[in-house]
């Protein structure tokens, strides 16, 4: 394994260890506290951060667009809209129907945005227009959400608002197996497609000329990314920026693009970003900052810096 990847992995381990032994109450090793609160939180950071980062990378390669990401192209918002709809509509169902219904709705939401995007790309929409379309899809979704919110009752409203803030702490220990199961089935397929991802690095036409079944791969990429984004959105609410910046940071750090080397780094950097946000929250317990606020403070400057360095290149 690449030495820089080993460095990133150790950083992940270090953060994980810190967040297991240190919480809002300071340094303490109460096993109950670790088992009930900190372990789920750390596990969620690992998979949510990692999956968002991988989904962002998949989208950037697939759309040949360095600014593609779950939040910017409106996929997270699509997922949120469907989840919000289900939260408001599923009153009176049993808990398990509500839960699984929400998983499915979250996936359908992400998938329907992807279908719109793929349709537009197939019609030769430019990269800039695609980004703007993504932002418009987001604002469409938030309009829909605010109408749903205005029609809902107090309890659902409270549930929804809590969820929509975005947090790595929503998963309880009993829910953890379901989260881990969904995370693994949406992450592991990527390992089978490293070769095709590499072939897509140049362009779709080159991939095709090397024997890649482009139509099938397109479906695979989109489904895997939609699965990952929907699992994260479902359990953590909409989380911004990790998806779009992790791949850039990983490339800058490794100075490699080859997917077998880049993929682990992208995953680790996604995890580290989630850990950084969570660490800041733990160290400033009285401020109750949201994850998204911290990620925005890190993410926006990184993207601006990236755009600055790429000036002269047409997007």
């Amino acid at each position: 394994m690449n030495s820089k990847n080993i460095f990133l992995a150790s950083l992940v381990a270090l953060f994980a260890f810190f967040l297991l032994v240190y919480g809002e109450t300071g340094f303490n090793l109460d096993l109950n506290l670790i088992w009930e609160l900190r372990l789920p939180k750390v596990a969620v950071c690992v998979f949510a951060g990692g999956m968002l980062a991988l989904a962002g990378l998949l989208m950037q390669i697939f759309f040949q667009n360095p600014l593609a990401g779950p939040d910017i192209l409106g996929v997270s918002s699509g997922s949120s809209l469907f989840v919000a709809f289900w939260m408001m509509a599923s009153v009176g169902f049993s808990q398990s129907i509500m839960d699984w219904g929400m998983s499915i709705m979250s996936f359908l939401g992400a998938m329907s945005v992807f279908f719109i995007l793929v349709f537009l790309v197939n019609k030769n929409m430019s990269r800039v227009s695609l980004i703007i379309t993504g932002l418009l899809i987001s604002s469409f979704a938030s309009s829909g959400i605010s109408i749903l919110v205005s029609m809902s009752q107090a309890l659902q409203l409270k549930n929804y608002l809590m969820w929509s803030m975005g947090s790595f702490r929503n998963v309880t220990t009993p829910e953890l197996p379901r989260f881990l199961f969904l995370s693994l089935i949406s992450t592991l397929p990527i390992l089978f497609f490293i070769k095709s991802l590499n072939q897509f690095l140049l362009s779709e036409n080159y991939a095709k000329s090397m024997g890649v079944n482009v139509k099938r791969m397109r479906l695979v990429f989109v489904s895997v990314a939609a699965l990952q984004i929907s699992v994260v959105t479902l359990f953590c609410g909409p989380i911004g920026f990790i998806g779009i910046i992790s791949a850039h940071l990983a490339r800058q750090f490794l100075k490699r693009s080859q997917l077998s080397v880049l993929l682990p780094a992208v995953f680790f950097i996604g995890v580290i970003l989630a850990f950084i946000a969570e660490t800041i929250i733990v160290l400033t317990p009285t401020w109750s900052i949201s994850v998204n606020a911290i990620l925005g403070l890190i993410g926006a400057p990184v993207i601006i810096l990236y755009l600055y360095r790429q000036r002269g290149w047409s997007l």
Partner: protein, 243 residues
């Protein structure tokens, strides 16, 4: 003896609507064919149709005497490879990594590189003179070097037919000459048939074996450069506005 690699019969090309109709021609191993015609004549479209990137609207394309639709996409990639005009934006991809991509039709599902792949890539890099650039980043090369790397990637596919879409367009004159000499060398040493579109008439005239010309009037002409000179086809299609 001439070995027939590519055979086109009554081909109609286009994106849904026909751009050019009734093309019939052949390409032989170890020769260079230059595809000429004014901008918008459909050169790029023809090359992409032959490379199976866009479907033919009508007619037949045969590779080694076999209908190209009967090839699986992997087997097709082992016979035909292409260098496209699209500008590539890839950060931090090394030259050797890019060339190894050309081996992907031959590698297993993980893309594992084996000794034969290494041998092929080393030979190609040696032939094209890229050994010193092996660990440079593709994005930092000059246009001429980039073009060579893309040719090397295409050759790593071990094609029988190498298609190049306007390989000389972005190059300065010395690089153009170097490139055409390189292609000449490749066609004779590797026994590859080369089919390239170009506007550089003076440059290719003494270096290619065959010219295909897609005329403005919808006529498709093929023949040797000498044939084109003697019959006045060049004058008719390229210089008609001058005198």
């Amino acid at each position: 003896m001439k070995t027939n690699i590519l055979e086109i019969e009554n081909l109609t090309i286009g994106f849904k609507q026909a751009i050019f109709e009734k093309i019939s021609a052949e390409v032989y191993a170890g020769t260079i064919t230059a595809l000429m015609g004014v901008n918008g004549a459909g050169k790029s479209c023809l090359l992409k149709t032959i490379a199976n990137l866009i479907p033919a609207l009508e007619g037949l394309i045969r590779l080694h005497g076999k209908d190209h639709r009967t090839y699986s996409s992997i087997d097709f990639a082992k016979v035909v490879s292409i260098v496209l005009t699209e500008k590539l934006q890839v950060d931090f991809l090394r030259v050797d990594e890019l060339i190894y991509l050309g081996r992907s039709p031959y590698t297993n599902w993980m893309g594992e590189i084996e000794d034969t792949d290494r041998e092929v890539v080393n030979r190609v890099m040696d032939q094209i003179g890229l050994c010193e650039l092996a660990s440079s980043f593709f994005s930092e090369l000059s246009d001429g070097q980039k073009q060579k790397v893309l040719i090397a990637r295409a050759l790593a596919q071990k094609p029988k037919l190498l298609i190049l879409d306007e390989p000389t367009t972005y190059l300065d004159i010395p690089s153009k000459i170097e490139l055409i000499k390189l292609l000449k060398k490749i066609s004779t040493e590797n026994k590859v048939a080369i089919l390239m579109s170009t506007h550089d008439l003076e440059l290719i005239e003494s270096n290619v074996d065959q010219i295909w010309l897609m005329g403005k009037d919808g006529s498709f002409n093929e023949g040797s450069p000498a044939h084109f000179r003697s019959t006045g086809l060049f004058e008719k299609h390229f210089y008609s506005g001058l005198s």
